[in-house]
Symmetry: D3
Subunit: 162 residues, 6 copies
């Protein structure tokens, strides 16, 4: 049996319970799962790369077969080739996400032959996104249902909480 | 490493190149892939169960890790539990398929905890379905681009060809 | 202030937690809410009209301003006119429901001028439908998370439970 | 009977016939309807806040139970809580609007418990948006079918008309 | 210049203002437009083939370059080849129609190389369908806004009118 | 027979095989087809107007009835009126494109009465867009399957190729 290797990438600014659910589920599909965190020097993040890396690493510690990768925003498919990845993992939340994902999947396969599997977000987590978390935190709203405890604490330190 | 096992089910009335592409791709994702062929005695099929089984088996012979299962139309999730399946595999062709699939995935997980991965059909295969193949064959049209050679031959014997 | 009156209709074969959530929410929007249960003599129901009426009535007792109506499958808009309804209430679960609802709303307004408000199902209830409940119960699956206790008991009596 | 209070918010840059149709319909659903006009100092509007307020107020005068609110771009839900709002009102034009609205509705309810009702735009008004009106006016096109007379006059003064 | 020939087909049970708008628009796109009316002996129509043909012919008389074709429910593409058709014409009303149409277009082209153009229904006509007209007429509702005068008269004779 | 004239417009930054397929198909629908290339001085293009014009002209030479128009980013409908255009041609790739196109079509007709026909992109070309081509070229990927030879050469000169 060849080792089955997955790769799930994102900005994780910040990591949410939605991301962690996909990671937990993907970690059971593959023998090894890489989680790739992008850094794009031209983009404005709420959390710096080192903050995002630390928060995500803390939340990944409980998974035995998950390894965090930090990389420049190259084409994901290059990382996939280098790490002998069996399939990329993408989360899809609504039908309106689908056409975008299908397009990415097509070009990733055309460029390098890499496979992609879609995992459908659980209904109670499908509404959450990092951008919504940032927006609500900016209004000092309680987002503790949507993010892991360490992220919640960091957001509270940045913005305060009503 | 636990063995990773997939299950892809359908009526396969008849099997198309679209099905075979999904099976080929899924066979690389898992250590072992089951392909489940349903028989519902209350349903009218173009091909009998034994015809469908024979046609599909011929096309699966080239895959080293794919095994055909024939079963009554029970809940797929029961077969999944019995065979220690890691994940069900579903093909999705268009955004309009998505909400239906998301609903099935939800109930399959709620009932038994089984995971489902979606594979997006390749653009040139996304248009093909068994029902379209049956309809076009009924009009004696050439469907040889859409089905494997053995299915094409069986359709020609049933309907003739212009 | 004119009395604000709502009307929510369905087959309720059987009533689900999804229906009851919409009814609870709509009962707060209107001074009075009618819940209309259809009977179409040409249609096959799992539960008879008197069973459906009894189950639904039991679940509506806790609402102070909700009244059950039983009627032949006439155009809903006629009931609406007769009862001086301010607006019909419809639940919508996914984007793929939307175009169908928009069409119904258009013709209901064109025919009689009646208004319709859409309530979006909560994510954790959006997956539930009466047809899925009937199908799962037919496979003796536990549907107690999806229906009120009295419906669950009735389904268990009809089908048994694994 | 508790008073039923609605809240419909927007930038109204400028108010269109589509907005006014939703306001007219919502004013019949509720005993009182607030219309909230946002001002975001960081955003570029075609019409200033005082222009937008004046234009909208002129068009709301004919409604007996509609009151205009001007506010900073806080979370709408805070205004809703302060004004004891029964439900937010949102217009939805196409299926592609739906997932976005469903997401907003979810978070508004999660944050504060506020309800939201969707009204489907009438087909002949569903195409209109403030941004399209601004774009067409910029090309000196006649938009008098799409906006109230006072807005049409203001647009003509700003841009001229072919 | 080669003659440009279009073909628009349907059951026309009965023809609606929506169909007639598409026919009027398509008649300007092509030098000649065929309108094909299907007869499927296995299908239940409200109007017989001769009734549908007569009603449609009356409404097509005003178009100088439109010719009615009556035919068995063969593949439309065969008629298209026989009549040297430049393109099939299809009406599309909503995004949810699109994937179905795209599939039909694909197979029509694959089978015979025939082109298809889509015309988007006007908003105020996009809600109308023959099936909705039949349903509303069955409830004795006034459908005179949705169908030509001769169809309205025939529906009234069949069903009466409230 | 009046001359049937089509107009297909875009930025063509750069022209892709998807554009050329639509142009080839549209050139058969009309006696004459104009292809309009926009220049918006406020927009950042990868290729200058003269580069885009030259590349596109080279690829249009083989069509006997296609003429290239270069123009400022006025409303397309003005060009259409000036050139006595029978219909605008738009390509549509997915259901998620549809609502946007339907809106544009509506306003173009409302403003000037001009008709629009939609051509559905072929499945194997539906994934391609100029923006994806620019993005992939920026990563030095081989895009020769997606663009004509002259564009491929120009992209290679700009970016190099892995």
């Amino acid at each position: 049996m060849t080792e089955k290797i997955g790769l799930f990438t994102g900005s994780f600014d910040p990591v949410t319970n939605g991301h962690l659910d996909i990671i937990a589920r993907a970690s059971k599909l593959f023998d090894k799962l890489y989680v790739g965190i992008f850094d794009n020097p031209n983009k404005n993040y709420l959390f710096s790369l080192s903050e995002r890396t630390q928060l995500l690493q803390e939340d990944l510690d409980k998974f035995g077969n998950v390894e965090l990768l930090v990389h420049q925003p190259e084409l994901t498919v290059r990382i996939a080739a280098e790490k002998h990845v069996t399939a990329l993992v993408r989360a899809v939340r609504t039908a309106s996400d689908f056409d975008y994902e299908a397009n990415m999947i097509y070009f990733n396969r055309e460029m390098t032959g890499v496979e992609t599997v879609l995992l459908v977000a659980q209904p109670e987590l499908a509404m959450i996104s990092s951008s919504r978390v940032r927006e609500l935190s900016g209004f000092k709203q309680d987002v503790s249902r949507f993010v892991p405890a360490n992220v919640n604490k960091s957001l509270e330190e940045k913005f305060g909480r009503n």
